[in-house]
Symmetry: C2
Subunit: 87 residues, 2 copies
Amino acid sequence: MPYIIAVYDVGQKRVGKMLKLFRRYLTWVQNSVFEGDLTGAQLRQLQQEAEAIMAEADGVIFYQLRDERYSERTALGVDKAERSRFL
Amino acid sequence: MPYIIAVYDVGQKRVGKMLKLFRRYLTWVQNSVFEGDLTGAQLRQLQQEAEAIMAEADGVIFYQLRDERYSERTALGVDKAERSRFL
């Protein structure tokens, strides 16, 4: 299953809605950053729901890793991730 | 060369310094998100410089991909990336 890192940059009015949406699909990591496993169908659904919330000037980026093992993760300072998915 | 995605969440007072530091090493993508190729030595140097700026409650995460080709990148809405590194 592909591993997703997602980041959003949206207007203040939509931050709450986006946070709630992304938490339904992924693990909150930091600020506006989320991680987790999603099937292709789940990813498309999340993208559609995000687009329905987004307004002008908002942006969301999804990084799709083929497999979690392809990446290393290093956290400096406070690691707020709800659960650790990497080493 | 490993491909890095870096995200930080730091106090308002340190945002300017962090932005300046990260831009010296990586490409600004969105909000507090950066991407780019770094050697292991460059990554360690960036991490040391970031730690020198960081204070309590600040956090920085580095995702290290073995190779840029292992990932897909999808942007919804405004893509503020200074240059596109993916498809």
